[in-house]
C-alpha cells in the first residue's frame, strides 16, 4: 500500500521535476554541437525561480482567459504526465490513460494556449495562435494514428497496457512499430515546437509559433507557461520511449524495480535529448508552407503501419 502511494507520488511529480532538466540538457548538448560552452543544464530551474519572483504586467484588454490559461495549460501537463507510463508499466490507471483521453487532454492545453494568444488582441499573439492551430489540426491525425498503431498491436487503448506489450520486445511487428515511430517522432517535433517546425530560441516574427503566443506573458504566468512547455516535451519523450521502446519499465512496484525503471527512463530521456540536439544543430527550420507536407507524411506513415499490421 505504501509502495503504491510512493509510486503514485513519484509518477505525479516526476514530469514537473525532470522537465526543466530535460530542456537544460537539450540546450547544453545543442551548445556543444555549435562549439559554444552553453549555460548549465540547471539553468531552466534558475530561470523558473527568477520568473516566479518577478512581478507581472497584464494588458488592460486581457480577459479571464488570459489570466486562467497558464494554470489550465500547466495543470493539463501535470494530469497527462501522471497518466502516461514513465518508469513503471504496472500502475493501474484506467481513467485517464486512454489514448484518446491523452490526445484530447493535451488538445485542451493547446486550445487555451491559442485562446490566450489572441486574447489581448496583439498581432503577434494572433498569428502565433493561427499558426499553432494549423499545426495542431494537422498533427492531431498523425498523433492519434501513431498511438492507434500501437493500440492495435497491443489490443488495448490504455497506454500502460500498451507499454506492457512484450510482443515488441520479441521482435514482432517491427515494421509497423518502426513506421509508427517515424511518424510519431515528426509529431513530437511539431507538438513541442522544435526544429524544423519552430525555433524555440527565437523571437523573430517570421519564424516563431509557440513564443508568439506567450509573448504577452510575464512573471509567474510566464514561468508556468515555460514550465508547461518543458513538461510537454518530457511527456512526448516519455510516450515515444515507453510505447515504442518498452524495455526497462518496472513490471512490479518493488523498490528495486522502480529505481531501475527510473534509471532506464533517465537514460532514454538523455538519448532523446541528444537526438533532438543533433537534429536542431544539423537542419534548418522549414518554411511554414512546407510544414503541412511533413505532418501529412507522419500521418501516412502511420496508415502504412496500420495496413502492415494485418
Amino acid at each position: 500500500m505504501i509502495t503504491n502511494i510512493i509510486t503514485w507520488i513519484l509518477q505525479l511529480i516526476f514530469v514537473p521535476i525532470m522537465a526543466p532538466l530535460c530542456v537544460g540538457i537539450t540546450r547544453k548538448l545543442k551548445a556543444k554541437f555549435q562549439n559554444r560552452k552553453g549555460a548549465s543544464i540547471f539553468q531552466p530551474y534558475q530561470d523558473l525561480q527568477k520568473l516566479f519572483g518577478k512581478d507581472e504586467i497584464i494588458s488592460k484588454d486581457a480577459s479571464w482567459i488570459f489570466r486562467c490559461a497558464p494554470y489550465i495549460v500547466f495543470t493539463v501537463t501535470i494530469v497527462v504526465g501522471a497518466s502516461i507510463p514513465l518508469f513503471a508499466s504496472s500502475i493501474n490507471n484506467t481513467i485517464t490513460s486512454d489514448l484518446l483521453v491523452i490526445v484530447y487532454t493535451l488538445a485542451i492545453g493547446t486550445f487555451f494556449l491559442a485562446l490566450a494568444g489572441i486574447d489581448t488582441g496583439s498581432a503577434f499573439g494572433g498569428f502565433g495562435s493561427s499558426r499553432e492551430m494549423t499545426m495542431s489540426a494537422l498533427a492531431e491525425g498523425g498523433f492519434i494514428f501513431s498511438l492507434l498503431t500501437m493500440a492495435l498491436i497491443s489490443n488495448s487503448t490504455n497506454l500502460f497496457m500498451i507499454s506492457q506489450n512484450s510482443l515488441l520486445l520479441q521482435g514482432h511487428f517491427f515494421l509497423s512499430t518502426a513506421l509508427a515511430f517515424c511518424g510519431f517522432f515528426i509529431i513530437v517535433l511539431a507538438e513541442t515546437a522544435r526544429f524544423p517546425f519552430d525555433n524555440p530560441s527565437t523571437h523573430l516574427e517570421l519564424t516563431m509559433i509557440h513564443e508568439a503566443m506567450i509573448l504577452e506573458y510575464s512573471g509567474k504566468k510566464l514561468a508556468l507557461m515555460e514550465w508547461a512547455s518543458a513538461n510537454k516535451l518530457l511527456i512526448f519523450i516519455a510516450i515515444a520511449s515507453n510505447l515504442f521502446f518498452p524495455f526497462g519499465l518496472a513490471q512490479d512496484l518493488s523498490a528495486s524495480a522502480i529505481i531501475l525503471g527510473i534509471i532506464v527512463f533517465t537514460i532514454k530521456i538523455g538519448i532523446f535529448c541528444l537526438v533532438i540536439a543533433i537534429l536542431e544543430s544539423s537542419i534548418a527550420k522549414f518554411r511554414f508552407f512546407r510544414l503541412p507536407d511533413l505532418l501529412i507524411i507522419a500521418f501516412i506513415l502511420n496508415v502504412i503501419a496500420i495496413i502492415l499490421i494485418y
Binding site: G171, F174, D293, I300, L308
Partner: protein, 215 residues
C-alpha cells in the same frame, strides 16, 4: 536462422524502399541501396545454411561483391565526379507519393494477389510484403525524374524479386544467379556510362530534359 530475423530483413528491405521514395540526396539513396543489398546477401546466406548447397554461398558472396560493394562505389564515384548531391524532383510530391505507397501496399496485401502470395501458406504475410516491395520499386522507377534514382529503382526491383523468390521457396540455382549478376554488372557499367554521357550533354540527370531530343 530465426523466422523473426528473416522477417526483420524483409522489413528492412521495405523500409529502404520507402526511404528511397522520401530521400532527396543521391548519397542517401546509394546507402539505402547498399543496406538493402546487404539484407539480400544475408537472406541468401540463410538459404545456404538451411540447404547446405555450397553454390548458394558462392552466390551470396557474388551478391555481396557486386551489389553491396561495386554498385554503390560506381554510383558514389559518379555522384562525386559530377557533384550530383541532390536528386532531381519527383513527378508526384511526397505526401501524394506516400498515399500511392499506401494504395500499393493495400493492393499487395489484398485478396487480388492471393494465388501468388499463397504459394507457401505459412509465408503469406511475408510474400505480400515482398510483393509490395516489388510494387514500390516499380513506382520508384516511374515517379523519379532522375536517371540515377531510376537506375537505383531498377536494381531495387531486382532485389525485391530475389527476396520474393527466397520466401516463395523458389530454387536459387547457381547458373541462374550468376547470369543475373553478370547482367547486373554489365548493366551497371552501361548505366554509368549512359548517365555520364547524359550529364555531359544535358548538364543534369533529369530525364525530362531528354524531351529536347525531339527537336
Amino acid at each position: 536462422m530465426n523466422i523473426l530475423f528473416l522477417q526483420f530483413l524483409l522489413q528492412v528491405i521495405f523500409l529502404t524502399i520507402v526511404f528511397l521514395h522520401i530521400s532527396k540526396k543521391n548519397f542517401d539513396a546509394i546507402w539505402a541501396y547498399g543496406i538493402q543489398s546487404f539484407a539480400i546477401t544475408i537472406l541468401l546466406l540463410n538459404s545456404f545454411f538451411e540447404t547446405g548447397n555450397i553454390s548458394l554461398l558462392f552466390v551470396a558472396l557474388l551478391v555481396l561483391i557486386v551489389k553491396v560493394v561495386l554498385a554503390p562505389r560506381f554510383f558514389a564515384r559518379l555522384i562525386k565526379k559530377n557533384e550530383l548531391i541532390f536528386s532531381v524532383s519527383t513527378y508526384l510530391n511526397i505526401p501524394i507519393t506516400l498515399i500511392v505507397i499506401v494504395l500499393l501496399c493495400a493492393i499487395a496485401f489484398s485478396g487480388i494477389f492471393e494465388p501468388l502470395t499463397s504459394i507457401i501458406s505459412s509465408n503469406q504475410g511475408l510474400l505480400s510484403l515482398a510483393l509490395s516491395t516489388m510494387f514500390l520499386s516499380l513506382f520508384l522507377i516511374i515517379n523519379r525524374k532522375s536517371a540515377l534514382s531510376q537506375i537505383v529503382g531498377i536494381l531495387s526491383l531486382e532485389n525485391s524479386i530475389v527476396a520474393f523468390a527466397i520466401f516463395a521457396g523458389l530454387e536459387q540455382s547457381l547458373s541462374l544467379q550468376i547470369g543475373i549478376l553478370f547482367d547486373i554488372s554489365v548493366w551497371l557499367i552501361i548505366a554509368t556510362v549512359f548517365m555520364s554521357m547524359m550529364y555531359t550533354h544535358f548538364g543534369s540527370l533529369d530525364v525530362t530534359d531528354m524531351k529536347k531530343l525531339k527537336d
